[in-house]
Symmetry: C2
Subunit: 237 residues, 2 copies
DNA sequence: ATATTTCGTGTATTATCAACACTAAGGCTG
DNA sequence: CAGCCTTAGTGTTGATAATACACGAAATAT
């Protein structure tokens, strides 16, 4: 009850059920070969010791986005990371202890940038998406949804660069997209396509670590990218 | 606390905050001209009397999907309707009374099929998406997200038919897609495109209500549609 | 009979996608 | 230092899909 202008008004809210709301993060990284996800050995009951997504409970005074950001930072030490809400999972018995609804977010990070200490501290590990162990609760399903969302998003917006270092080679970029969609592109077609999008700049520097000849480094250009519609990467297997 | 194998285990759950979880439904319909949404004059505080999406609170023993279905049925009398989760909205002060997180779903219904009685009973009304009044809380934002999702989905899956009667004319179908994307298609190109998808059957019947000549009726063929990849409707303005 | 309205259809042009193979650079090795 | 080896870098052609575009047919109303 509450008083407004001298009238008593009753909110229906008081009689409604409250639930626990959690956030789980699918943290994607890329190691030059495979698309990977960061998993932890769960440190508390239930299902202690089993592999799990990183997650946590929503606090009263934060948004889901803030919670996802907080959790990501807790486990990787990173800030300012691209994240996107995937879906909210609400099967009644998805958590055996108590009714818990969970909203999944995925994050794209440069795999070299996260804190190695934290990884150790939480018994965390990177797994290739295709070789990840079975996870607790409905986390496997969350990954499938996140992957689907990532694939759709990456096809129409230039988010892949978040998974690479600031400077990257054309070959790295190609391997990344091949990993995201589990496919192969023709090298020449890929270069032509990317260049036609006009969203990355070729630098004068070369990366000498993977070949004697060296390969040019590129850099994502957010300005250029803003001014144009990114069209799908439609390239054949 | 709980006993398992004689050991006491503590779940962290007990100390976590619980919140109210609501579901709001963006109910889309199509009236041969405009894409419309069903709104109600809110019958309780806060914001009583203002326009709002239809919604309700999640109950302890139901999933979000079940809640969305229940709410849709409550306001339209309809069952077995295409629905899709859009996003979960969690701004801390989105509801002024109490912290409430809300998951939005959109539904596609044949606008002629819903219960007129219920509409009256709830002081509900159909509004063109482009002419809808300002809504309470973050409901305007929910509609924008739903619309975006609908546009993406309709571009790659044959869900538009849920907005039409079972039998429809090619012209109706075209107007529907024009309404969804707020664009115009060339009549000949549209027909060619739809026919190439091979997912609707031409009937022998004609609809005589809109022209002297009459126009052929078509019917969605779910079987055919299942056996092929639906490709985007890529047609120019 | 003729006027009016909406229906229904095909082709030529352009843009995008897909297939395809060789030379260049530079360090390494004998 | 000559040849070797590995990865980088690049262009053209044919196939497919998207777009632009206009007129006759049917049926009712006058």
């Amino acid at each position: 009850m509450e008083q407004i202008n001298g009238h008593e008004i009753t909110y229906q809210y008081e009689t409604e059920d409250k639930v626990l709301l959690a956030v789980d993060c699918i943290i994607f990284g890329f190691d030059q070969e495979d698309l990977k996800i960061l998993l932890i050995k769960r440190g508390f009951e239930p299902e202690m010791g089993k592999w799990s997504l990183v997650g946590g409970f929503l606090k009263k005074e934060e948004t889901l986005e803030a919670a996802a950001t907080r959790i990501l930072n807790l486990y990787t030490g990173l800030d300012n990371i691209y994240m996107e809400q995937v879906d909210t999972f609400s099967e009644v018995d998805r958590d055996p202890v108590e009714r818990t609804i969970s909203t999944a977010y995925y994050a794209l990070i440069d795999i070299k940038e996260h804190s190695k200490n934290l990884i150790q501290q939480f018994s965390a590990n990177w797994f290739s998406v295709s070789k990840a162990p079975h996870l607790i609760f409905d986390h496997d399903k969350m990954i499938q949804h996140a992957l689907r969302r990532l694939r759709n998003r990456a096809a129409t917006e230039p988010i892949g660069f978040d998974l690479l270092p600031e400077k990257f080679t054309m070959r790295q970029l190609q391997k990344l997209y091949e990993a995201i969609w589990d496919t192969k592109f023709d090298k020449r077609n890929f270069v032509n396509k990317i260049n036609s999008l006009n969203i990355i700049d070729k630098l004068d520097e070369k990366d000498m670590t993977t070949s004697r000849k060296g390969s040019y480094l590129y850099q994502f250009n957010a300005e250029k990218s803003k001014t144009q519609d990114i069209r799908p990467f439609g390239l054949k297997i």
